[in-house]
């Protein structure tokens, strides 16, 4: 077999070759190097804080990939992704504490439960054209928030739930490094699944619905079912990520799963790049980085005596910065960081003949 290292003037010999994820062996080589670095070197070269940030990035990325399948590929907006993330977290917590589900089973189970909860809101709106799903998920966001706080017997209300420690085949995972392997293995798996969805008939059907729903119907695609499927998949990802997050945090309350979190996920998808699986990860990196930077900045400001009186808090600043990021990217680079990265890469690739 001939190695293909350069995509410039590369002609596929068989159609099968075009079905691979990477166009060249170069790409595959980089992936192999990247993955072995990720799992072999990063956990040992990073301190606990960096590992914490990386873990959050991995978990957030999974949820962002799910939302991107819905927004970027199917053209439907969900404003309830934050709440669905919370449903996953609570589902895992309840399964783990009340039914004693093992960790490995609780994750997919939480995903499935979340997907089903999503359907409750998706079914009434899915048969309508236009953006009714968006409105239904907005309702979902508020109803779920309410239920998480007020269904006391199940969710223990504002007291929250403490989860048992994660154990995989008898092995307890306690430190950041252990979690690093769990979160990133999950991310790699969920990314692969997303890529597979996108390159098969399901992904094609989603894109068709996004681009022209009438024509999609004329291709024999049942729009309602596929919109629902996409929504189910996206909720599954949210639930899975939420479950992972709950285990990672070891205790949860309903507080974080607000509309603000949903908007945060939308920001990730837009900033990362709608319709790009990798873009969702860039978006998650960007937003998590932004969150940490803002936290760090407010910490500094808090310690300056003169500013203490101003009562500077992180929440409005975050809101402001996310808003600006969303608006900026939509107006100036609607295809997000994924596109920026593609442009950078392709101008390097043909160097020195790039003009």
């Amino acid at each position: 077999m001939k190695l293909q290292l350069h995509p410039c003037g590369n002609f596929k010999e068989r159609y099968e070759d075009e079905l691979t994820i990477f166009e060249t062996d170069y790409g595959r080589l980089w992936l192999a190097i990247g993955l072995s670095m990720l799992f072999g070197a990063v956990p040992f070269a990073s301190g606990p804080y960096l590992l914490y940030v990386l873990n959050i990035i991995a978990i957030t990325s999974i949820a962002a990939i799910g939302l991107n399948i819905l927004i970027g590929f199917t053209g439907q907006i969900s404003l309830g992704h934050g709440a669905f993330f919370g449903v996953g977290a609570y589902a895992a917590a309840i399964l783990a504490t009340q039914v004693h589900f093992p960790f490995l089973l609780a994750l997919p189970a939480a995903g499935l439960i979340t997907a089903m909860v999503g359907m409750v809101f998706g079914i009434p709106s899915g048969r309508l054209k236009g953006l009714y799903l968006t409105i239904a998920t907005l309702a979902g966001q508020f109803i779920i928030e309410y239920v998480l706080i007020h269904w006391d017997s199940l969710t223990q209300g504002t007291r929250g739930i403490v989860l048992p420690p994660v154990s995989i085949f008898g092995m307890e995972i306690i430190d950041e490094r252990g979690f690093f392997y769990v979160t990133f293995a999950s991310l790699v798996l969920m990314t692969l699944i997303a890529v597979n969805i996108v390159r098969t008939r399901y992904g094609r059907a989603f894109i068709a619905i996004r681009d022209n729903d009438r024509a999609a119907e004329g291709m024999g695609i049942p729009i309602f079912q596929y919109k629902l499927l996409s929504f189910g998949i996206s909720s599954f990802y949210a639930g899975f990520a939420g479950a992972l997050w709950a285990y990672y945090m070891t205790s949860i309350t309903a507080e974080p799963f607000t509309l603000g979190l949903s908007v945060e996920y939308i920001a990730m998808v837009i900033i990362g790049g709608m319709g790009s699986v990798a873009g969702s990860i860039y978006g998650a990196v960007f937003i998590t980085g932004l969150n940490e930077t803002l936290r760090w900045l407010t910490d500094i400001f808090m310690n300056i005596d003169a500013l203490q009186g101003a009562g500077l808090t992180i929440a409005p600043l975050r809101e402001l910065v996310f808003g600006f990021a969303i608006v900026f990217f939509i107006i100036f680079e609607p295809r997000g960081l994924a596109e920026v990265w593609r442009i950078i890469r392709s101008s390097f690739r043909l160097w020195p003949f790039s003009y």
Partner: protein, 275 residues
């Protein structure tokens, strides 16, 4: 990549029963408010036939096709296809029944390439399920390659090799119409419904299109309903014509008969010309 020449294999492999397309439309009526788009229209198509539907603007031609393909719901009448009542089926179900179409105002996916557009039409012929797709099992890969082959054959037949990787949005109008025909063919329909496939084409493009349609119909017995304004084209490729006006069927018969029918002439040329 081996250059492909000749007839697409998919059509040879289609058996006679798979090709069966017996359509019976009776008393179809549809009004929008006070406008009667269709009034008691009846017609039938048999396997292997190319039926042309003509009529002046607003005659109800597109409305008829929309009823056949589930985009409009007739208020009265029935549509029977291969012995099955399909009047109330949804568009996507009708595609599965074997009715494929093109649109008057091109409904392609403009951001996608010609290839992706056509691969989409293979959706109903994909057999793998979600579980297999999530893992991208070897069976999925094999099937995807097979669909790609089908699409490539159609691309070769329609002489679109040079544009297969171009985004559809960047193509000139005439070529887009051709892509849309290719996409409809990739559905492998029993009954192919074409809404003004020649509209907006240059003379050369029209000649190509006539060639394709004639070959599809004569060589592989593809059953078709063709809506077209250009009488010379209609006369040259169809043996039977239905003429509509103001939603009602004016006449039906051979091209000569229709050409000489006074009602049709009146409808086309207007009242003044007759006087």
């Amino acid at each position: 990549m081996k250059a492909f020449r000749g007839r697409p294999g998919i059509f040879d492999s289609v058996t006679v029963t798979e090709r069966r397309a017996e359509l019976d439309v009776s008393d179809l009526s549809l009004s929008f408010g006070g406008v009667m788009a269709l009034g008691n229209v009846s017609l039938s198509v048999t396997t292997g036939e190319l039926l042309a539907v003509i009529g002046p603007n607003g005659a109800g031609k597109t409305s008829l096709l929309n009823c056949l393909t589930g985009y409009y719901r007739p208020q009265k009448g029935t549509i029977i296809f291969n012995g099955k009542d399909i009047t109330h089926l949804h568009t996507h179900e009708l595609v599965k029944e074997g009715i494929g179409r093109t649109f008057q105002n091109i409904e392609l996916f403009p951001g996608m390439t010609v290839l992706s557009n056509m691969l989409l039409a293979r959706h109903i012929h994909c057999k793998y399920r979600l579980g297999a797709a999530l893992a991208f099992l070897p069976s999925v890969r094999r099937e995807e390659v097979a669909h790609r082959l089908v699409v490539e054959e159609i691309i070769d037949f329609l002489e679109m090799q040079a544009i297969r990787k171009k985004p559809v949005g960047s193509l000139p109008y005439g070529l887009r119409k051709r892509v849309e025909l290719g996409r409809a063919l990739a559905l492998k329909p029993k009954l192919l419904v074409l809404d003004e496939p020649f509209a907006g084409m240059t003379l050369e493009e029209k000649e190509d299109m006539v060639r394709f349609l004639a070959e599809m119909n004569e060589e592989w017995k593809q059953t078709m309903i063709l809506v077209e304004h250009d009488m010379s084209i209609v006369m040259s490729i169809s043996k039977r014509i239905v003429a509509l006006n103001f939603g009602e069927k004016l006449a039906e018969g051979s091209p000569e008969l229709i050409q000489n029918n006074p009602e049709v002439i009146k409808a086309y040329l207007g009242e003044e010309a007759v006087i």
